[in-house]
Symmetry: D2
């Protein structure tokens, strides 16, 4: 852990009386000063979620193992699953792209200027096109072309890159390949994708063209965790903007891409700040 | 025509060289002062649309028939279909409702306070519930209950009410009955409906419940012209707002209803100001 | 208290270690089930704020005095100021208006249809114009015309109406008179006002006309608590919308009034749900 | 002129009968096909504005001088000032920056990827910090440090760079120096600035800190033409976003900077597409 003095406790468990007190009582007893706290009790799924930011107390920094052992003892009766994160640590990530660079460019900029608490360890692409952008930012670029024959092997290579780089999140920044079901399940909750959001929902190829034919008055984007159901995983964030009849198909796409950048950046930020919890097919986001 | 001194010319025709000049040249020759003008040339559908607001010239007020005959002669070579509207006239409308009153209340308020250039000639409902609201506003209320047996007859009654009242637009302000295909075709471009807009698009019953299960982060509404394809007619306007995990299903619905009010009011306003043109399955809206 | 089974605890005190644990620990010990909780620790003002929604426990309903006495004992060392509210109770309010009715109409509608947890006990105005609207909703209307001579006395009459009606909040729904400094101080945190928000900030008379001259591209509204500094009290909410060069001054005003309705309704809702805390010249709003 | 086949005619003159017909009649007579047209007649300033996009006709490309001479003859009676622009030409610009790079980075990206029809001929800064970014994009970087003594001379150097590079627009992308009154007047309508928009309007140093102290619920940005009145020039565009009590001053600034990027990019785009007209202290923007 770094010399940063701030920590984040995230936890979830079945909803029942006393859950909040278990964690806040423990932190109080350990003299940890709570800075920000949010909790949510989902009556439908009967799950409780809590996120607490607090200043490090001496015990945590001097005896981390003892601290966490005591925490575990306290919350065990609640079947609580918890994590403690260093609030100042940048989340190591791998970004996957194809040829569109708008989301990649945006993530690189926000990361470089400290607006996004991530450390981009590697960029992986099924095309070579975006390597110069990676080079300027001095980030390793792996070209893993995909064919039906190579797909399985390339996903193994991807997993190797993720593992070697220590990445804890994979960001699909307009990566135009569908991941295999196995990979989706293996990486559950650790892969974020961005895709268009058009009203009404259009399926299949060329969604913007369909939306254009239909005369939509809004375009937007959805950021979600990847699941084996294509583009149907738990939603983290959505942004929508207005358009009108005078938009050409190119202008529609451009407006849509602006929303893709913003939506993906916001979703990644919330994830990296440990504000997002999976809750069945939904998410809880302490924004 | 009233003594208002402002007119609106709307016209559309196949797109070709000279269309704009035909109308602006005519108005110039007649000494009509153009106040506001918008045109659009759709290269895909090859249709030209124009809307011009202008001050009345003496010929128009003194010899309306001669004026329009000359206009027709000038634009006939372009196969132009045109209309001239008194800009200060309130559009006569009939509103249809069931039990939800949020849209009706909003339309009544905006009409009463001059924010919406419509004159509500009658309110038609398949339920008696909203009659007191109509009474306070001194608007005739027609209760036309619908059963599979009575549906055809009641639509005849509706047409009679529309005809007797001189209404030129029917507004479905959360009217929960599907109109028959015949009625939709008969009234093409003269019936505006409001329905929810949820991302991704949910079909079938209880859309808000589906959206809630799905964990959407946005809710909204679409106003559109009614066509035989249920909820798929040409879109006039859409408004979307953000929601989050803490919204109950009731709060989702409430937020959605707020957007329904605003979207419907805006669409009706644009229609009543002759800003909306049908363009195949799309619209052109000079906002 | 009614038979509703849900309560809200709000509290604030100087920020120090253990504040959250004090309240959550107490509720846990009393077997009160926490449904929703939000807290905020303002490092600048060194104030801690917390809002907890919880299901009633048997002790609270059977021995309310004992329950609150124990709570007070527990939180006294923190100098905590707290309140317990019945979550299902409608907040009694008095609305003040002049001649504009858009905000009043919106509040009446939302109150009547259960969208706003308030009970409008009286409407007070310095003009007689809006009495018919009050009558239809069967709400007492008090006409208190203001002149420099009568102002002091009419404010006494207002206080009497507030007191007699049991109102806990006064809503200035476009009330065009400035309250005296004495009244502002007496009612601190219990009077909400709505006023325009135009960029850049225009002072003085006819702000929309100034904004129009200036060519603003946005109009909006701010809801705030009233303080002796005119239109400068702690902000509860703000909403802004886009406009363009083609807006007439009338259209600017109309768009501005739409945002006034929405902003005021949202601020009142947050206040009535006990989500708003005064924090020096700012607010904390658990949205 | 390039081989692009599309042109834009912009014109303005005193408002009077026949203005539209003069330009559309001329284009019709020349067999130029009008694609998009917008006009506005400002009754307050009594100015007429029109923007027409049209396909090149043979005369324009083969005899440009004859074409424009005939146009001038036709519109002279209206005292019309007009320009014809090649719609496919990228506007040459110079960007000025200090140390903040968010707006520069955004403009570079949008320019490089064809989203903004500008060609960045040079970057000028009073600091050396952003030179590496310019180098990667292979754009000349001029470091012109400013002191009270050097200011006049450096503005001369700036004018030389603008002149040598052929730039037609100067973009102040968070350039933290005030331009002299002489420069503002010399470059009227050709310098776009971005600055914060906070409600209510804060003047003076550290505006975000003032806004933070004040507890604003929205932050935003205004793009405007530069005039001798500091930050008061004609507004081209404004964007505003919501914030809340939990935002730190850093988060306020970050959100504000996001809106600065978007607002500046949109204003530059509108200017480069010849959609913006000066109209006294306001603008007309055909969006």
């Amino acid at each position: 852990m770094t010399d940063c003095n701030r920590y984040i406790l995230t936890a979830h468990c079945p909803g029942r009386q006393g859950t909040i007190d278990a964690v806040t009582g423990f932190l109080a007893q350990q003299n940890c000063y709570v800075l920000e706290m949010a909790s949510f009790d989902d009556r439908d799924t009967n799950r409780f979620f809590v996120r607490i930011e607090f200043d490090a107390c001496s015990r945590l920094t001097e005896d981390f193992e003892g601290f966490t052992a005591d925490l575990q003892e306290r919350v065990e009766p609640f079947q609580m699953q918890w994590e403690i994160h260093d609030a100042c640590r940048q989340l190591p990530v791998v970004i996957m792209v194809s040829k569109y660079d708008h989301c990649l460019n945006d993530l690189l900029y926000r990361s470089r200027t400290g607006k996004l608490p991530i450390e981009i360890r590697a960029i992986v692409s099924n095309h070579p096109d975006l390597e110069p952008l990676a080079q300027w930012h001095q980030i390793p670029y792996h070209h893993l072309p995909i064919t039906p024959v190579t797909k399985q092997q390339q996903e193994q290579n991807l997993l190797q890159i993720v593992s070697d780089s220590g990445a804890e999140l994979v960001i699909l920044a307009r990566y135009m390949q569908v991941l295999t079901e196995e990979l989706c399940e293996l990486m559950q909750g650790r892969v974020i994708n961005i895709h268009h959001s058009l009203l009404p929902g259009f399926k299949g190829a060329k969604p913007y063209h369909q939306a254009y034919e239909y005369g939509v008055k809004m375009v937007g984007a959805t950021a979600h965790y990847v699941t084996p159901e294509l583009d149907e995983g738990p939603i983290i964030d959505q942004i929508i903007e207005s358009v009108n009849h005078s938009f050409t198909i190119e202008q529609l796409v451009e407006k849509g891409q602006d929303t893709e950048c913003l939506t993906l950046a916001r979703a990644v930020k919330h994830h990296a700040e440990h504000r997002v919890f999976l809750n069945g097919r939904k998410t809880v986001v302490f924004g």
